[in-house]
Amino acid sequence: MSLLIPLLDAGTQAPQHHPWPRAELDREAWTRLTLHLAGGELDLLGLWGEPDRVHMAVRAPETGEIAAFTLLCPVGTFPSVGLAHPPAIRLERSIQDLFGLTAEGAEDTRHWLDHGAWPTGTPLGTPSAPPAHAYVFLPVHGDNLHEIPVGPVHAGIIEPGHFRFTADGETVVRLEQRLGYTHKGTEGLMQGATLDHAGRLAGRVSGDATVAYAAGFARAAEAALGLTPPPRAVWLRALMGEIERIANHIGDFGAICNDASFAIMLAHCSMLRERLLRAADACFGHRLMMDRVVPGGVATDIAPAGVAALHALLPDFRERLDQLVDLYDSTASLLDRTVTTGFVKPEYVRRFAAGGHVGRASGRNFDCRKTPGYAPYDALHFEVPVLEEGDVNARVWIRIHEMRTSLGLLNQLLDGLPSGPVRAELPAGHGEGLSLTESFRGDVLIWLRLRDGRVERCHLRDPSWFQWPLLETAVFGNIVADFPLCNKSFNCSYSGADL
């Protein structure tokens, strides 16, 4: 039975929202919606603001239906979603910081993105005074506990964020994250931008997932304008997306092992990654394929030399990967570090609707290439790996399975690549679009409203929003020295979630 149809009927449907409907609700229906989320009947896909309203995108896991809902906030407040459904808490704190809209009854009202350093508070709403008081971490009580503050500048070459550990001897009893350091104001810069410029910004929300973001932005814009990009462009996007997935997974595979001091794996994996990036460069003229996916299609067709480079690389890549997987699986001292470490409860993964390897290693079978699915994946054969163990080892294995799947997809994509143009002219129209795109990290949600061919408002929700909080649970009871392993096995994006 459909949950969403009665809710959509209870509101006023937006006329030009594609491909899924959006309805404006009253407060009573909005509250009903939050209770469905809390009851586990709906997954939260995103919660974002505008100066006078909040939007929410949800999915019914039973039926696969997706819809967006809107609540007008004439007095600058809305009934809290996070109060009943914790995955919304950080999103509400961000809405408060950017737009000045307050979640009524929310328990945690501390600032999230706003660290008191911007020229004004609530920069995307009515500008206000920046927060004056210092950030307060949640208190931890107990005997013999000590705190370990880490960051925002970390010891390695990684993004900035602050981790506040509370440890009992060597054992972590609590972790509190404080993020927002890389907030660049991307959504603010998008307002009024041309589609090309906004697409470039979307490709820099999280650099490691630049193809997925650019494709997600393009798909949302094309949905809003009712344009179907040429088939060759759609296949090339998938080709780039799968190269990006393998490149990230092989890098993570090596880096996770390196965090257990098994450096030989990092050396071999980083060589495979380098060879793949060079092939990507040969195909599309950029190692990370930045700015190659654009609204309307792709910016460059694949170079013949690139096709040859991929054909030459793929069989060897697969063979060397098999060899490295054997090495991983037969090194007991390494498995000793990854098996049972950093366990994420399947119940949490379901509640947070966590995507990517974090979700799939804890039993959540969701990959938006399959459901709701999008072109060209409906024409390709692939399996979505799911494991139940939920530990670092399971997240490594999900990556291994996905790399093998993606290598198969690359062969299918190269063999079946349709001929024809790679870019279509975009009409300068109005409309709203929503897209879900599977990055290597999980589902990226992008919503936008276009007016006269420009972006009026765009929201980009990284998969990390629903994974970061689970990392806080995963390190519980682990030793401090295993945090890098847990963290790398998640590999959440700082920039993606900070925006």
């Binding site: 890389t182 907030h183 630049t210 890098g251 930045m290």
Partner: protein
Amino acid sequence: MRRTLLESLTRRPATEPAPVPDAADLAALAQAVDGAARRRLGRSLAIRQVDAGSCNGCELEIHALNNPYYDLERFGLHFVASPRHADVLLVTGPVTRNMREALERTWHATPEPKWVVAAGDCAATGGLFATSYACHGAVDTILPVALRIAGCPPTPTALLKGLLALLQG
């Protein structure tokens, strides 16, 4: 394990010849790095990377410098965990306002002589984010910059050329 190790012993190294630094980079550096300081450093530079708000694209390519193809450490260049051990801060990102304090504190924790390399278009010019309410823009609005490495992100070869210029300039 045995097979992987044996193969590594019998195969030729993957490491590639060093790129030659650009003349323009060398000329720009002549004033920044004076001879006395260079003599004190010898042929070694300790690098502390600071992400001042990048999209993480630059970090991916900086990581690649450590892979066997580029093998940064053969040049005496190596990444260190603390600014107190560093000669060079390799800064990426459009210096978000939320990262300014951390960047400045990292700079103050670095002993003299020290240099800042702004890696990537965001750090060099502010990039697409120069006009944002949340960013300061180029790193040189906050710290003195000795060298800029362009690119979005700069390729490992471009990064290597820049860092070698710092050693040889």
